[in-house]
Structures are given as C-alpha cells and as structure tokens.
C-alpha cells in the first residue's frame, strides 16, 4: 500500500514536470508579446523594456527561462506580468469561490448521474432507458454558454431574480443565515449548468457498469435465494458497479475547470476560470502556467485519491 502510494507520487512528479514543460513551451513559443503595454508602443523607452525583460527573465535563453520559472513556481515568487502581484495571492484569493463551485458541480454530477444511470440500467431497453440516454446526450450537446444565457435571460428579465456574482448587492442581510442562503442560491445555477455534462457522462458510465454487474452469477444467486429486489439492487449490484462513481471524481476535474472558463464569465462569478480567461486576454504567462500546474496537481491527487478509495471499497482490488 505504502509503496504503491510512493510510486504513484513519484510518477505524478514526473508527470508534473512533463506538464510544466508542455505548458511552458506552448505558451512561450507562440508568437506575440507579453508586454503589458504592447510590443511597438513608442512611448516606452528601451530601458524600461530592458528592465521588464530582466525582471521576468525574458532576456535569458529559453532553457534558463524554464529553469527560473520552475524555481519561482516552487518558491512562490512568481509574479503576474500585468500588475506585479504575486501569482499565488491572485490565485488563493479566488480559491474559495472556485472550490465551492467545483465541489457543488461534482456533487451534482455524481448524485444525479448515479441516479439516472441506475434507472437506465434497471429499465434497460425500455422506453424509460431510451429517453434517459437521450436526455444524457442532450446534456452533453448543450453548449454551456447558450443555456447559461437563456437562464440569465429568462430569470433576470422575465422573473426578476438576481443571479449574477456571488451574492446579491444593495441588500442588507438581517443575519448570517440569509447571507449564506443568498450565496448558496448564487452558486446553484452556475453549478447546475457546469455539472450537466458531468451528470451525463456519469450516468452513461454507471449504466454500462451496472448492466455488466446485473449479468453476474452472484446477482442470479441473490435473486434465487429470494432476497428482495431492493436488497439485490442496492447492496449487491450497485456496490459492485461503483467504479465510475469513484474514478469520476478525478476525471471530472479537468472538464469542470474548462467549463468554468465560460460559465464564470457569464455568471460574473469570481473563480479561477475567470482569472484564467483574463490571463489569456492579457497574455499573463506566469498566471497561465501556474493555473495549469495547479489544475494538473489537483487532477493527479484526485486520481490517486480515487484509486485508494477504490481499493478501500472493493476488496478485490489490490494495489501493487
């Protein structure tokens, strides 16, 4: 067990290096200038430019830039090229909002996905299953920005409910409870939109894994010895087909972060997706690289965690 964890951590570190390498070269080798004032601005003296290049190590050869980038990344000295704030501060400012949104979206994906997948497998081949699988493709094919705008349009214009940002402004909250309820409400819509695709993929995975389990002999045995259908379903079948639910935790993250770039922009939600989008617009390389690294670390840890969890719930799995 311990050696498994150590080996996986070692592998993760190699992967992280590979990822830092890929993102660094994608970002630096593409044409375009990182200067906050534009490449050809005549008002900027050569000295200022040289100082900027020196500050962000742009005067060094590429491999040294990469070295300096790694060094600064791990010592936390990386600074935004735009406003010179430490990158870590800009990101940690946004971390609570991002975590809230993503955890909520993961919860939605896993719970509703499991539910839909379960019923799909139960009513396999029947019209209920067909409409459920149609529904899941509907969810995957919905462009997130489109459904968000339609929601914003109907709710704001026709119903008059505030939904943008993290909380309603211009209102005095009588107590903390109402403030948190208001925040929860503001979290709800972006989380639902963000989780649609996750719900769909989870339900597809769970459905096929469930169908496979229901064919097993031990299910037949359980039925034959006269256990009630509910016990067979939840205690024998569902427990043995939980793999997608657990692997899902790690797999959902990258797509959620991708989706949040658009969703957070529309709902004016101050998370990491929005920060990333601004960094792309401003060509703020240090922020882009750090974001990629943080997401990759989260994904790798998520995968490790889900493998461990899987071994924990399924004694047939041995970690070697």
């Amino acid at each position: 067990m311990l050696s498994f964890i150590l080996r996986r951590l070692g592998l993760s570190i190699i992967l992280l290096f590979l990822i830092s390498f890929i993102s660094f070269f994608i970002i630096t080798l593409t044409p375009g200038s990182p200067y906050p004032w534009g490449e050809m601005n005549p008002k900027i003296s050569p000295e200022v430019k040289a100082a900027f290049r020196k500050k962000f190590h742009l005067d060094l050869p590429l491999y040294q830039q990469y070295e300096m980038m790694l060094h600064d990344l791990f010592t936390g000295e990386l600074r935004s090229m735009k406003d010179d704030l430490p990158v870590m501060k800009k990101i940690t400012d946004r971390l609570p909002a991002t975590l809230a949104l993503n955890i909520m979206a993961i919860l939605f994906s896993l719970s509703f996905g499991t539910l839909l997948g379960l019923y799909g497998a139960l009513y396999r081949g029947n019209w209920k299953d067909m409409s459920l699988s149609f529904l899941s493709f509907l969810f995957i094919a919905l462009p997130g920005f489109w459904i968000s705008y339609l929601l914003v349009l109907t709710l704001v214009k026709y119903v008059g409910i505030p939904i943008l940002g993290t909380q309603s402004y211009g209102i005095e909250f009588p107590n903390h409870l109402t403030l948190w309820l208001d925040r929860l409400w503001h979290l709800m819509l972006p989380a639902i939109v963000l989780s649609l695709a996750g719900i769909a993929t989870q339900s597809r995975y769970l459905r096929s894994s469930m169908i496979e389990t229901l064919r097993e002999n031990y299910i037949l045995t359980a039925r034959a010895k006269g256990l009630s259908p509910t016990v067979v379903l939840y205690q024998h079948a569902l427990r043995n087909s939980l793999r997608p639910l657990i692997t899902g935790i790690g797999m959902l993250l990258p797509s959620l972060i991708s989706g949040s770039v658009i969703i957070e922009t529309i709902f004016a939600y101050p998370g990491m997706g929005q920060l990333g989008y601004q960094a792309v617009l401003e060509r703020d390389y240090p922020i882009l690289i750090t974001l990629n690294m943080i997401v990759a670390t989260m994904v790798l840890l998520g995968n490790l965690f889900s493998d461990l969890l899987y071994a924990l719930v399924d004694p047939r799995v041995r970690l070697e």
Partner: protein, 285 residues
C-alpha cells in the same frame, strides 16, 4: 453462413436504431444546406440575403416574414448568417477530427503494437494530456497563435487525440495476439505492413466511432472559442460569434442567442446520437 462484410453488418445493425437513423438524416440535411449555401454564394446568389449586408435602419428586428430569424445589431439577416455559419461548423468538426485521428491512430498503433517501454512512455504522455483542462489549453494556444480557421482546427486536433490513442491502443493490444497476425509475423512481414494491412482494418469500427464522437466535441469547442472572441473572426459568420455579438443585446434581442445556439445544440446532438448508435451496433453480441 453469413456472407456479409463487417461493414455491411455494422450498417445493418445501425439501421435498426431509429434514433440513430434520424440523427444521421439531420446530419445529411445540414451538410446539404451547408453545401448549397456555399454553392449559391459562390455563384453570386446569396440566399435568402447577403449575410454581410448591413442596414442600420433594420437593426435588432425581431423575427418577421422578411427576416425569418430577425436581424442583429448591424441590421444583418440572422437566418442568412446562420446558413453561412453552417459550413464553418461542419468544416471545423470534420477537419479537426482528421487531425486528431491521424495523431491518435499513429500513437495508439505504435503503443499497442510495440507494447513494453514504448507503450509505457506513450501512455504517460496521454496521461499528461488528460490532466490539462482541455478547453483552457485550446483557448490559451488559439489566443496566442491568433484565431483563424487553420489554427483553431490544428490546436483542437492537437489536444484531443488522447481518447483515440487510448482506444486504438486497446484494440491493438487484443488484435496483435490474433492468429492471423502471428501468421503474418511468422511469414516475415515487416511491422509496418502488419500494422497497416492486418491490424488497422480490423480496428476500423473503433476508429470510425471515435471519429464520429469527436466531431461534436470539436464543434462545441469552436462555438465556445467563437463565443469568447477567439473563434473564426468576423465578418465571417459562425454560430458562436452571432451569439458573441448578440450577448450585448441579450435583454432586447433574444433571437440573437436562441437560434444560433439551437443550431449548435442540434448539430452536436445529432453527431453524438449517430456515434452512440454506431457504438452500440459495433458491440459484439
């Protein structure tokens, strides 16, 4: 005795699923519309209107008999713009899949055929790619390279080959143990020939399915890029940039959001349904 070829069998089983067939009909219909629009505008007969003719006296009109789907903030006919956006979306879908398939098939074949260390290294590369938030990576690269049709296709293709590679590798791992492959090896055929002549044709179904399922991903990614302002650039109309232009007028002109988004949605849905139906037809009974 069954004398049908595998592809005939696949087609026959595909036809049994009504949903898949209807989705295929929708795709063919869309392709025909896109081709007709291109042909008409090439002949100098843009139908029903020129998508780029602006008329500020006609701006932000709701759907009417003259402008079926209304007009945008420059008085351009939304229906015409959507027709002209269709070829773009389909082109992005098909060409991106060509790029990602060619990378994915090559890497997957090599990993699956060679196995061992080579396989390990290539699969770690795939793992690294799977850790990236794909859309964010695409956005970064397109923003830095500059948004153009070619860049978008290449960038989306370059980051979305991993699924194909994994599936092709899996297929190769089983197929390379097949007796006819052993026979070919014993007869002294070189690896390249075995891969291309003996194994690849038998992995065709899997490749076709990943290709079809890759198309809507690319279309949705392009729409998202367009929406953020990094898609194919105006004045060329795309479904994504009609919405991007319209978002400023969200509260006054719902038709600028509803119709183009619906077109993206239906197209993506049709491809997903065809892909899924093919996958079911390809599953061995």
């Amino acid at each position: 005795m069954n004398l049908e070829s595998p592809s005939q069998q696949l087609w026959k089983r595909f036809c049994k699923n009504k949903v898949g067939v209807w989705a295929l009909v929708i795709i063919i219909f869309l392709t025909l519309i896109a081709a007709a629009t291109l042909l008409l505008s090439w002949l100098g007969l843009p139908w029903p209107m020129n998508p780029n003719t602006t008329d500020l006296s006609q701006k932000l009109l709701p759907p009417s008999q003259l402008h079926w789907l209304g007009t945008d903030h420059l008085g351009r006919d939304v229906f015409s713009r959507m027709l002209h956006g269709a070829p773009i979306s389909l082109t992005v879908g098909f060409t991106t899949v060509l790029v990602s398939l060619s990378i994915g098939v090559v890497i997957g074949s090599i990993a699956g055929y060679c196995g061992g260390k080579v396989d390990q290294c290539l699969m770690r590369l795939v793992d690294a790619f799977l850790c990236f938030p794909t859309f964010f990576l695409i956005l970064t690269a397109v923003a830095l390279l500059g948004p153009s049709l070619i860049n978008i296709v290449v960038v989306i293709g370059l980051v979305s080959w991993t699924e194909t590679a994994r599936l092709v590798r899996g297929e190769f791992l089983t197929l390379r143990e097949a007796e006819y492959v052993h026979a070919a090896t014993i007869l002294g055929q070189d690896s390249l020939k075995i891969i291309t002549r003996h194994i690849l044709p038998n992995a065709a179904a899997v490749i076709l399915i990943t290709a079809v399922l890759g198309i809507p991903e690319a279309i949705l990614a392009e729409a998202g890029l367009s929406f953020l302002g990094f898609g194919v650039q105006p004045p060329q109309a795309t479904w994504g940039n009609i919405i991007a232009d319209g978002k400023t007028y969200l509260l006054e002109a719902w038709w600028l959001i509803l119709f183009p988004g619906f077109a993206i949605f239906i197209t993506a849905l049709a491809f997903y349904l065809v892909g899924d139906s093919l996958r079911e037809a390809g599953e061995k009974k």
